[in-house]
Symmetry: C2
Subunit: 302 residues, 2 copies
């Protein structure tokens, strides 16, 4: 049981964490800080936080657990602003979708105090962000990746593991580089592709008619193109090399399918599509009704 | 009220149509034909059809409404097999995702009798095909596109409109070329992209680990990569020119976003992503809780 949670950035993830911690009875009081006072006011009105803070430092003051839930490029300035309150007596975590840049930022901002900071990434999201969509059940059945460094305090890592597990998440440890490479492939690239695809539709003169005809396949394929532009700006820049490398792989696969179309080769095209469809249908999303068992920590250390 | 529905191809769409017609009390008896006798047997056991037919012709014999729900490349041979039973006294419809090629096939197979045939495309689908996923509610709140030709019997068009409307679909008329161009953009291209993307993941040496880390964004983005390979082989070949043209537009949009990433231009990248996210979030899928009103027939005649 924690006395006070300080949330810096009360968006979908920060707000959901606050609600989940309260519902689980893990925290008595939540204080929140946002760049925009109107967000803080909304979070307070919705009962996501108990009180607003005037600064990031004030949100940390008196808190024994702190969640930093800002776009990753704001991590360094946030940590700098709170650095002299960072100590092993308080659990500090972030929720950024990239980890290599966050860890480097923590090292620069905190120096030796970076041992108190546990880099985290919850694999959870929704069509639309904002504290108004915060959901106490957002992390249930989802994965939570921890990417501690050798210098990270082991007790802090254990406390982070306990907290996220208590919220219903499956906790996995990975090396930061493995994390960033893997999520370039399964999360960051699909976001880039969905953004590019929606843009290509939206810029056509008949886009209104096109969008009026789009059905459930289009809806699901483009859902992630509705993601927060500031968050995805940061992720795409922070993990640029890995995302662009994955994009090259994607373009090569697209080239091959288009060549089969150009050649009008129905048998070869069907032979190419069949294992894809089978592979996709065999895959089970974490958190879906029949989740695939993932041994804790397996992807780490590769 | 129809006496007997003949379904040629009892998959997800054919099976769902049969169930929906029965539930709506629009048909007394359903007879089904499939290339594979085991599919017919399964459809019968599931109560989707009342009896199996030995041939497409036998499924049409005695029927006053016929649904052809086969991959589009099989439309011509199917229509040839039943051609001497095609007459204006029986309503003939297909459900193909492309219409230009289906109409050309109908003209070749049926000659003047093509007036009895109403080309249809229900904008409805599911993650996985097969009669075992047939659903009487599949067409509720969805759009149904009709692409009649000037020679199509107007009474048949009216009957088709009445049937699909009674199953809960919103019926829209479009010219076949406009249909194929629009669906290349909002349905066929995203399927191609999802297939290519899943393939690019699956062929990596670490694909098992990657897939074990993938979350809800990946799940939705790749759902349509689980589509029937025979159906999508046909669609991608039948509508090749339009799909490849849309792919060029997509690649150009992807190039622009990647250039902003390469340049590390955060402000320009955010400025590019913002209207995309806003546009996507403003769009409402037909059949979603707050569907967008689409005046009947609006996209036709452009």
């Amino acid at each position: 049981m924690y006395e006070q949670l300080g949330v810096i950035g009360c968006g979908l993830i920060g707000g959901s964490f606050a609600l989940a911690m309260k519902r689980a009875g893990l925290v008595k009081r939540v204080i929140g800080y946002n760049k925009s006072p109107s967000t803080t006011e909304l979070a307070r009105r919705l009962g996501v936080i108990d009180a607003g803070a005037e600064s990031a430092l004030q949100a940390v003051s008196g808190s024994d657990i702190v969640l930093i839930a800002v776009p990753v490029s704001a991590t360094e300035s946030t940590l700098k602003a709170i650095r002299h309150l960072v100590s092993p007596g308080v659990l500090f975590m972030d929720v950024g979708s990239t980890k290599g840049d966050v860890i480097a930022a923590a090292r620069r901002a905190l120096g030796d105090r970076a041992s108190a900071f546990v880099p985290c990434h919850p694999i959870a999201g929704k069509e639309t962000g904002g504290v108004q969509h915060a959901d106490a059940a957002l992390f249930e059945g989802r994965q939570l990746i921890l990417t501690p460094e050798p210098y990270t305090d082991v007790q802090q890592v254990q406390r982070a593991t306990d907290v996220w597990s208590a919220l219903g998440a499956t906790v996995l440890k990975m090396r930061p580089h493995n994390h960033d490479a893997a999520f370039a492939a399964v999360s960051h690239l699909p976001h880039l592709l969905a953004f590019a695809y929606f843009q290509a539709i939206a810029e056509q003169p008949t886009s209104r008619d096109l969008l009026s005809l789009a059905g459930p396949g289009f809806r699901d394929f483009t859902r992630i193109a509705g993601g927060d532009p500031a968050v995805w700006r940061d992720v795409l820049l922070a993990n640029k090399r890995e995302v662009l490398a994955q994009s090259q792989r994607f373009r090569a696969a697209l080239d091959r399918l288009e060549s089969l179309m150009e050649a009008g080769d129905g048998s070869a095209l069907e032979a190419a599509l069949k294992p894809i469809a089978e592979g996709r249908n065999a895959w089970q999303a974490p958190g879906s009704p029949a989740p695939q068992a993932v041994p804790s920590g397996r992807p780490a250390g590769k």
